[in-house]
């Protein structure tokens, strides 16, 4: 059984460590916030100028001056801080944010990522994605292993315009957890019930399989 979006988020949450500052992108990455282990201190960064994102507000507490990078209304936790966009990206560029989780259209075996533009389709802009992938200390990509037509999204070479080069370290898909070694995808874990053969078939890029591949523990 391949994982659903929440399953992917749940597996990524296992990568969190106590004391981490984390930037979560829009989509599946946002769901990771729901699975932060009890008692673990993780501070969420929003690139529009908030460190310490809290849960979505109750209806009566909605505040137009308090949004996340997806322009959704949010709250802030005790110990939060606000700052301008230059300082916010300084936190990312300066390596102060421990982990960035974001989605992608494609990832290459060398760690290149395409996530912002599909030629011929409407281009809305890269937002902060290029800054995040070029400078973040550690990047995990959350995405489906294949597109709707079954084509692999883990490629030898990205076909879409790039967001960044040689930057992705780890990928969590509906089928597997993979490390990007620099010239290949190394299979680390399988989704519950998914076989190595299925993962091989769904991966176009070079896949390294060493020994027994364990099932994810989620």
């Amino acid at each position: 059984m391949s994982l659903d979006k929440n399953g992917i988020a749940k597996r990524i949450a296992q990568e969190l460590q106590d004391g981490y500052y984390v930037n979560l992108g829009i989509g599946i990455p946002t769901l990771v916030a729901n699975y932060i282990p009890e008692g673990m201190e993780v501070t969420l960064h929003s690139e529009n100028g908030l460190l310490g994102i809290g849960p979505f507000p109750k209806k009566e507490n909605v505040d137009a001056d308090l949004i996340n990078a997806g322009k959704q209304t949010v709250t802030y936790i005790d110990g939060a801080s606000f700052f301008d966009s230059a300082e916010s990206f300084g936190m990312i560029r300066g390596g102060h944010v421990d982990l960035t989780v974001l989605g992608a259209f494609e990832v290459s075996e060398t760690g290149d990522i395409s996530s912002w533009k599909v030629p011929g389709k409407l281009v809305k802009g890269m937002g902060g994605a290029m800054d995040l992938v070029a400078a973040a200390k550690n990047i995990i990509v959350a995405m489906q292993h294949t597109d709707r037509d079954g084509n692999s999204k883990l490629l030898k070479k990205c076909t879409l315009p790039l967001t960044g080069v040689k930057c992705v370290k780890k990928i969590v898909t509906d089928l597997a957890v993979l490390e990007v070694t620099g010239d290949a995808f190394k299979l680390l874990e399988r989704a519950p019930g998914v076989t190595v053969e299925e993962i091989k078939k769904a991966t176009e890029g070079t896949l390294i399989i060493e020994g027994e591949i364990p099932e994810m523990n989620i």
């Binding site: 529009n48 109750k58 137009a64 001056d65 301008d84 990312i92 070029a134 315009p161 960044g164």
Partner: protein
Amino acid sequence: MRKVVNNAQEAIVGIKDGMTLMLGGFGLCGIPENCLDALVDTEVKGLTCISNNAGIDNVGLGKLLRKSQVKKMMSSYIGENKEFERQMFSGELEVELIPQGTLAERIRAGGAGIPAFFVPAGYGTEVQGDKEVREFNGKMHVMEMGLRADFAIVKAWKGDTAGNLIYRHTANNFNNMMAAAGIITIAEVEELVPAGELDPNCIHTPGIFVQRIFQGVDYKKQIEFVTTSE
């Protein structure tokens, strides 16, 4: 008191065809609503607008776009704006997409007198273009230029007659850097108080960066995506 003007109409005097403007805000959060409305009421056109986003249809910068007053947008993300899309596809509107952190830093650098700097963002992508690249500490970087504007228009929560500004929550975003990068900076604030009433320890934008200030009226503060926990 010399910085205080009565309203948005007075504040925008001198903005002419073909000028470059910076407009604060992230999405619809912290946008200078009063000045945007006042600009829509003028016939000024051919503007280059530097703003992280471009409003939404008929809100914020979307209004200026609808009246075809904008020639070029410099933004990181366009957002939900059909008229913008139409003008971009038809070629009426020139669009330069800039990574958000690079855009923020270009504005900061411009205001701080730094003509150019190197960042890793965009290396190996179409953003790199024919810009100079250099390796620092084993990593490739792209040279980016500081940005200034004829007018920067920012929105703050509180301001005083000396031009000092305080922002509220995430409504700071691009406003603080833009204030320093305008040759003339206009600040519209929700509450304008006499100099001395704001705690100098809590000022975000020192008054030196602000040339004109006024208390705005009728803030709509529209929200793009109201998201609640139940």
